[in-house]
Amino acid sequence: MSQPDAATAAAPPPEPSAAPPTDVIHNIGYRAYEGPRLGRGYARLSLFSQSLRGAYGLGRSAKSKVLPMILLGVMCAPALIMVAVTIFTHMNRLPVQYTRYAVLLQAVITLFAASQAPQSVSRDLRFKTTPLYFSRPIERIDYVAAKYAALATALFLLTALPLVILYVGALLAKLGFAHQTAGFAKGLVSALLLSVLFAGISLVIAAVTPRRGFGVAAVIAVFVISYAAVSSVQGVAMSQERYDVIGWLGVFSPITVIDGFQTWFLGATSAFPHAAGPPSAVAGLVYLLVLFGVAAACFGLLMRRYRKVGLS
């Protein structure tokens, strides 16, 4: 390859204990770094921003931008249409509640989480980049926190952007400011919680395997199967008019946990059959506990997952 290296390789064996580091005569071309070393917090932030950008394909190949950008577009398109309809038909309210939007478009959110969680963690495992990270000033918790926060933020952008579109549209259509602002704020809160929950679950699944394809399939399967199961059992309960059972069943799938939570705490209208949200204060509290418990458990599981990774 390059000539200079070949030349030095042929040089005579080293004299014992060569030039001291301060001997600048030999340092032709090499400049020592005297600037700041920003340490652990900065390194964690760098990993966060790299992972967040990576979730939208930024800093990666053109090909990897395609899917996340399409999903972002698909996520925002209905909001744009709704806004247009509201403005041009002079409706006096938006066609959908802010808190309902994510529930309607849960398939898009699931696809995004399923494609980007493995992108974020399986790649590091597969190409064995993780040991390089741990040879830097960061600790395990920094890696897990940065990856978790990055995917949650990416999902929040995905779920909050259409809400912003709806809100701006609502104001343009001169709908009631106070009412719209309250609805928008509640929508953001639930979008944030949804993002944290979805990010945690999909990262835990993706971090199990270095195979990206498996990760994608497994994340989709968990979200879709759990939702299908909850919905169909809720359907059975509906036919038997057991509305309280419907309200309880929601704790068994991620999106219905969000639905139950926002129904009880944010005054949203539930998307469950018969709009049967949590039947009691106890049930509402259980939704809260499940939501935060699962998110915390996911963080714990990720910490465990990387306990052994070290340098091996």
Binding site: A10, P14, N27, G29, G39, Y42, A43, L47, P131, P137
Partner: protein, 331 residues
């Protein structure tokens, strides 16, 4: 640079490090050991990534048990395995790794460009790394270890998978890391031969135990010998024996081979001149190195390389004597 004291690492089934006490001074230090000798385990502990079962270790005066992050911001690490994502360019990857080491964005970019140039990567650095040759990948791995201008780099088998030319280039580069950049190096290999040329000091471990630690020049005295064979005439062989003894070389005869201990660089020239002076034909002159396990023998008994090695150090199939044999010198 590095000091360990009775350092041990026990896994449930194996003892990877066994009461290892070494002291690594500035310069290039070669850490030699067969597969499973504990080289990578030692590096892991030095980076503060695995707790020692027993004993202590300090890197740059910092305790590995308590100052892991601080050590890792001042030390570079090149792993033995592949670690490069294929769909990212070398520049992007090394910039990211520089930032992970705490360099601000502008400095990270600047030092990445410099470092990639120093390791000999030019236009290729903007291409995705999936298309790189093994040699280029090893250079990127070295660059990411150097990019934050560490005080010390730990290189785990950097010549792994390289052909002889690539190996020489890599060893030359490693030498320059110390001589030109002023960064101390701990480099591992399972070949003593290749580290002899690069290192100021050699540490040999086997089964997690320290076999030897000394400066390379001491090492060569003990481990290097030159086998000289001349055209089969008894008188000339005796003359040569006398001549070389008179020149102050230590040697002995076995059959029509002369085993000359290599004292220094000039040994080759002395032998060559003596052979030429006598006008005998040189059949071969070959540098021999001992197998790693033979380093158990202290210099005194090393005079008899054919002597029995004792029952307790079986070199095993993993030590391939041919691999450590030296290079022939054409007559």
């Amino acid at each position: 640079m590095i000091a360990t004291e009775s350092l041990s690492k026990r896994y449930p089934r194996v003892t990877a490090l066994d009461r290892l006490t070494v002291d690594v001074t500035p310069g290039v230090t070669g850490l030699v050991g067969a597969n499973g000798a504990g080289k990578s385990t030692l590096i892991k502990i030095l980076l503060g990534l695995a707790p020692a079962s027993e004993g202590r270790a300090a890197v740059l005066g910092l305790d590995v048990a308590t100052a892991g992050p601080r050590i890792r911001s001042l030390v570079g690490y090149m792993p033995e395995h592949d670690c490069l994502p294929p769909d990212v360019s070398a520049t992007e990857f090394v910039v990211h790794m520089a930032r992970m080491s705490g360099l601000p964005p502008a400095a990270a970019r600047e030092r990445t460009a410099d470092t990639l140039r120093h390791v000999g990567l030019y236009e290729e650095r903007y291409r995705p790394m999936g298309g790189y040759s093994t040699g280029m990948k090893q250079r990127v791995k070295l660059a990411q270890a150097l990019v934050h201008d560490p005080k010390l780099v730990l290189l785990d088998e950097p010549t792994n998978g390289l052909d002889p030319v690539g190996r020489d280039e890599m060893l030359g580069l490693i030498r320059r890391v110390w001589t030109d950049f002023g960064i101390s190096v701990l480099v591992t290999s399972h070949l003593l031969g290749e580290l002899e040329r690069t290192s100021d000091h050699i540490v040999v471990i086997d089964g997690g135990k320290l076999l030897r630690a000394s400066s390379t020049s001491d090492f060569t005295k003990v481990t290097g010998s030159l086998a000289v064979e001349v055209t089969d005439r008894e008188d000339e062989l005796l003359d040569l024996l006398d001549l070389l003894t008179a020149a102050g070389l230590k040697l002995r005869r076995s059959g029509h081979l002369l085993q000359v201990d290599i004292a220094d660089e000039d040994t080759y020239d002395v032998v060559r001149d003596a052979v030429a002076g006598l006008g005998v034909g040189l059949v071969r002159m070959e540098q021999r190195r001992h197998r790693i396990a033979e380093l158990f023998i202290d210099p005194e008994s090393a005079d008899d390389p054919a002597g029995d090695h004792g029952p307790d150090h079986d070199p095993g199939p993993r030590h391939d004597p041919d691999q450590e044999g030296g290079s022939s010198v054409a007559a």
